[in-house]
Symmetry: C3
Subunit: 270 residues, 3 copies
């Protein structure tokens, strides 16, 4: 089975198994994350209290950690839930939102990586560059670096951390430290809406809930959001904007099929 | 006045009085809950700090407690606000989200019920079965039990707790411990969107803010969401999915009238 | 350059500079606030942990403080972030949601004003009357006062606090203590959706991020929301309601241009 066939099979598995995806995430985009997991066919649960996260993650097929609005209470819950997930063989997917912007974010992302060894880390170029120890000018949570060398950065960091690294942007790059895959789906309008990065991570988490091949799972999650962004944008009529775009984004995810992925997904191995 | 007439009158009252509904609820669906209360004609307020909840609930016509993302801070606020509500004769509506999934949720739901004696409890079948002390396989916050015996379970639990019990699902069941009412509105697509359960509880809370007949208030809230789900789904065109469905759900609630309820609502007393 | 020309220039500046707007805000409408900032052309960041807010606000062009779901943890973060903002010359915009409803809200709003001396305060009539020390019947977070005397109240309070005061409602009033500007855009349907007040404050904050003329910045933010409300309502067809209205509101903000503001904005200086 080549990589494309694996991706299509992953989507069928999600719809069949409806994996439970436990999130400890930010309060800005949490509703979007829950809905995108439902749209693709998974089952989301959000729970962040220290007293219940270890128990809750035991029911889950994947754990998504997102530090968008981190605080001391939820950081501790992330560590406890993540530690339990690792003990149970449940994959941990990290979205290091805004890492590098503040010492707290950098320190927290580094600690989560060191302690939990996440199976997948997805960020934009500037976030991944921070994790790779490269100098980068940060402007809040936006990416400022160009995408030159992104394949090298992703591959080296994936190799160093022994995990999947995904850099999303104009071209998305995914590496497991040996292979690199570049994806050319998506539309720049995805950057005009809050939460498209968080939702991508939730989709990646959902696919990681149905296969141990986290490399293809990560690619599958990113392709789904990219295609949905293209379809949503293509549907817009005069006078419509990000309000309608957000609605169509969920519609498009909901209506994705393996056939659509096969026909429209642009994947290049290299 | 028979039960149907009471329900239609309740909707007119909500639009006339615009009751203030105080919520202590989860951060996943809180925006949807606020908008659904506004859509039906009520006035939502969300406040959860221990220092203000007792004062805030004093202005309210009903208090909705939802444990979807409970934590030690908000659990205490729920107890304080609920105790004050009871002292003032303000109805308390409980949504025991995910009860049974973790010890914290079960312990908290049981404590809220024991201390506050809510006027209404609304959950899905597995949540209500947990409260009824029955064995049930829990998968996160989803219902897994079939609906056999739901009328008996609702009636017995309502009688034991001396409150209204509502089990929502394919067929909704509402009981006050003596009467049982079964509702056959709704569409399975309601389960594909996060927050439709929470929103139903908020609608129930809104109706409880205008009448002391909590049995018909609960029925009214559930019918409104069921019909809105049907209308939203019926409006969908090719390529549309849960994004558009969510939008039309709020549109449909906003445009409900007593006449529409009378014409479309499927209620069977038995 | 007259006031209208300044407002149009402000919109061009926002789209050109994409100012970063740091929010410490409520969890009910936070997603809407992020999206409205993106829709107008700014860049939102939400961060509320005490350990990072002083650092985060250093990257921002404005700080928006909204007490809609205040608690002891975030109140302290507001004070720390605000103090840092003032030291750096970054404008602070305060939305005193529900002030007067509870002692905690009143005490907190007064403290934030006393300590931080915000550049702009935006509220509805009853909220501003509370800050002005006038008696007012509060019903939760809704305005109950009529708009008689609003110009006088705004002007006096702006003069006393040496800031911009904006009262939004049927007619919006903005004063810097000397000038008063009344705005007659908007549609009453804006009151049927949660978060339109919060979003207006976020728009005001975004404009304050590109000019030191906070008077015209405030007017610009309020006009944008008013016009978007009109356009959104005008677009509605039979069967549509607040679901579609919310979508079109973001669409309309996204498509605003200086030309549209020039043609449609109703501003009267007096």
């Amino acid at each position: 089975m080549d990589i494309r066939e694996k991706i299509f099979a992953n989507l069928s598995s999600v719809k069949e198994k409806s994996p439970l995806i436990h999130h400890i995430t930010n309060y800005v985009t949490v509703n979007d994350c829950a809905n995108v997991v439902l749209a693709i066919g998974g089952s989301p649960v959000m729970a962040d209290d220290l007293e219940e996260v270890a128990e809750m993650v035991g029911f889950a097929s994947a754990l998504v950690l997102n530090i968008g609005t981190l605080n001391s209470r939820t950081i501790e819950s992330m560590l406890v839930a993540g530690t339990r997930a690792k003990a149970l063989g449940i994959p941990v997917i990290l979205d290091p939102v805004g890492v590098g912007a503040t010492k707290l974010r950098t320190k927290t992302a580094e600690k989560l990586i060191r302690v939990l060894k996440p199976e997948v880390i997805r960020g934009n170029m500037s976030e991944i560059m921070v994790l790779a120890g490269q100098n980068v000018a940060i402007k809040g949570v936006d990416s400022v670096a160009d995408e030159q060398g992104s394949s090298v950065i992703a591959k080296n960091l994936a190799s160093n951390l022994n995990c999947i690294i995904a850099i999303t942007g104009k071209t998305d790059v995914v590496s497991d430290g040996r292979q690199v895959c570049r994806l050319n789906n998506g539309h720049r309008m995805l950057a005009d809406v809050t939460g498209t990065g968080c939702m991508t991570t939730s989709l990646v988490g959902t696919f990681c809930g149905v296969t141990k091949d986290y490399f293809t799972a990560t690619i599958a999650g990113i392709i789904c959001m990219g295609l949905a962004g293209q379809f949503a944008q293509a549907s817009l009529q005069l006078g419509e904007g990000i309000g309608t775009f957000r609605v169509r984004l969920l519609d498009s995810i909901y209506n994705l099929t393996p056939e659509i992925l096969a026909r429209e997904g642009k994947i290049s191995d290299k």
